[in-house]
């Protein structure tokens, strides 16, 4: 079968952890299917990362110095046409959502999103499991040769060390881009950096009302913790974006992650499941958050927070 293409994503001048995870799995799968791994990166900054990616080959579309969805898609399609790829792997991030489905549709390839595992089966095909329905169900999917698969970050560990140098070939993408980058916006770190906290008191939809954030603040103070949250709280304008944990927010690994009223959508779990200890309180006992939490309870968080604060000797 044709090579396994891995689209590499950069994160502040280094390869993103999700990309490294994909490359590790791609090398295993390539060995199983006796094929090669070809990496594709965008922008000059990716050249170094591609060289030490452990892939057999690499393409660099260095035309634009930053990621532009249309240009990246043109580059990926060019690589696919040149290499007759047997499998295309992308992280299920913004980039993966941009490129995965579009490339699959344009090239007539099957597509599987939200994969959390991927294994080779006999005859050049693969089998994936994906999280669907907000993580409430798992789908086991037969992945035919040539498919495009986007994989949720953190689905498997990355290899510690990669030896050897990968030759990097420059890719010239022809044509005008209908889309141009206006500016990049660096994260608003706000008043606190939630990625540095040892303990996070993280609130979700279950907080119900912005006034109840006071309870979380008091608890955090009593715990010496920082308040973070899930996406709905930010979208409602109750907390600044800098406090958001998850796919479009921060990835955190505190010693204790106290999830209050967070149901645990896959996008949220992505940002916190590697925390050392996770305690989840949510009224719905079937909430996916309990799948990753170490300890859980279904009591009322609005009742729990003041009691806990008091027990910890904080404000009454």
């Amino acid at each position: 079968m044709g090579p396994i293409i891995v689209v590499v994503e950069m994160q502040s001048d280094a390869m993103s952890p999700a990309s490294a995870e994909l490359l590790s799995r791609a090398r295993q799968l390539a060995r199983a299917q006796s094929t090669r791994v070809v990496a594709l990166g965008f922008g000059e900054a990716a050249r170094g990362a591609l060289g030490s990616s452990g892939a057999d080959d690499a393409f660099l579309a260095a035309g634009a110095d930053a990621y532009v969805p249309t240009q990246a898609e043109a580059a990926l399609r060019q690589v696919l046409q040149e290499t007759a790829a047997g499998l295309v792997l992308l992280p299920n991030t913004t980039m993966g959502m941009d490129l995965g489905a579009a490339t699959a549709a344009a090239e007539g390839r099957p597509m599987v999103a939200y994969a959390t595992s991927l294994a080779a089966v006999e005859g050049g095909a693969f089998k994936a499991t994906s999280q669907v329905y907000g993580g409430k169900l798992v789908a086991e999917v037969a992945v035919p040769e040539g498919s495009v698969v986007t994989v949720l970050p953190g689905s498997w560990p990355a290899d510690e060390a990669v030896s050897g140098t990968t030759p990097v070939r420059d890719l010239v993408v022809a044509g005008e881009s209908p889309m141009e980058l206006v500016r990049t916006i660096e994260p608003d770190t706000g008043d606190v950096d939630i990625t540095r906290a040892d303990v996070l008191v993280s609130v979700g939809r279950g907080i119900q009302d912005p006034d109840n954030l006071e309870l979380a603040d008091e608890l955090a103070e009593a715990l010496g913790a920082v308040v973070s949250c899930s996406r709905p709280v930010v979208d409602a304008g109750w907390l600044p974006r800098a406090r958001q944990v998850g796919k479009s927010g921060q990835t955190v690994k505190p010693k204790l992650y106290l999830a209050l009223g967070i149901s645990g959508a896959p996008e949220h779990l992505q940002g916190m499941k590697d925390s050392e200890i996770i305690v989840a309180i949510n009224s719905d006992p079937t909430a996916p958050i309990f799948e990753v939490a170490h300890y859980g309870a279904t009591c009322d968080i609005l009742e729990l927070m003041p009691i806990l604060t008091e027990r910890l000797g904080g404000a009454d």
């Binding site: 579009a102 206006v182 800098a242």
Partner: protein
């Protein structure tokens, strides 16, 4: 600016998701359905664009079941037009085929901007925005917010992990997968929806049968094993608080 907002309904995750006998799909007739929350965001963003710059907004849904109410709701919220693509399909229609039917319609419908939810809870075979971009050969972007019309072109912001973002400007036609609108989706009273359903008509467009598409087949659908399940603390808030404090002490996490 002519905007199409693609809306669909998905199983309500609040309810138990029943599987069908084959174990490969959902028991679609036994589920309750709600509008996909990201589509709601896309619709809201489109309506805000209309209010800001006078765009013409059409809500478009594929008739896989009971979509009329969703379309009337869009009209009641302020959409100018509602289009129902009718044909012989039901709720089991895979996303990839859904995208093809939509693409065939959109190709000749004269829209400048197509907006839809960045994802849906059931888009295992690819997000609609990306699929449409690929099928139509139009530029597209996912995880988008802050959409604005800028002299015939469209500006928008794309979100990345870690809170980074980038602003782009694109010519039209364009497909955007919207993550969040500038404001939470508006409420529309039921009486208003009923009123609209009496006074306004849905435009029905014959959209043909199910097209063939290359698909990855679901072999099994199941609830995640409870192996990694949390140790549950029973009892009321007092008891849970006691357990938590004990854990903090054990882990030396009390400040």
């Amino acid at each position: 600016m002519r905007i199409a907002v693609l809306v669909k309904d998905v199983p309500d995750l609040v309810e138990e998701l029943e599987l069908d006998e084959s174990g490969r799909g959902l028991a679609v007739d036994d589920l309750s359905y709600v509008p996909s929350e990201w589509d709601d965001q896309a619709l809201e963003e489109a309506l805000l664009l209309k209010e800001a710059s006078g765009a013409h907004v059409s809500a478009v849904a594929l008739d896989t079941g009971d979509v009329d109410n969703m379309l009337y709701t869009a009209l009641a919220k302020g959409a100018d037009r509602a289009v129902k693509l009718v044909g012989d399909y039901d709720r089991t229609l895979p996303g990839r085929q859904r995208a093809r039917i939509l693409a065939d319609y959109l190709a000749g419908a004269g829209y400048d901007l197509v907006m839809t939810g960045v994802q849906a809870v059931d888009d295992l075979d690819g997000q609609i925005a990306g699929l449409l971009g690929g099928m139509l050969g139009w530029p597209h972007a996912s995880v988008v917010r802050d959409v604005a019309v800028d002299s015939g072109a469209v500006r928008f912001v794309q979100e990345y992990a870690g809170g980074r973002m980038a602003e782009f400007r694109s010519s039209t036609p364009l497909v955007l997968g919207v993550q969040a609108a500038k404001k939470p989706p508006r409420y529309v009273p039921i009486a208003r929806i009923r009123q609209v359903s009496r006074s306004a008509a849905l435009e029905e467009v014959e959209a043909g049968g199910s097209p063939s598409e290359s698909l990855a087949a679901i072999e099994r659908l199941y609830r995640p094993e409870a192996q990694g399940h949390a140790t549950m603390w029973d009892g009321d808030a007092e008891q849970v608080a006691a357990a938590l404090v004990a854990l903090l002490d054990e882990q030396h996490l009390r400040s």
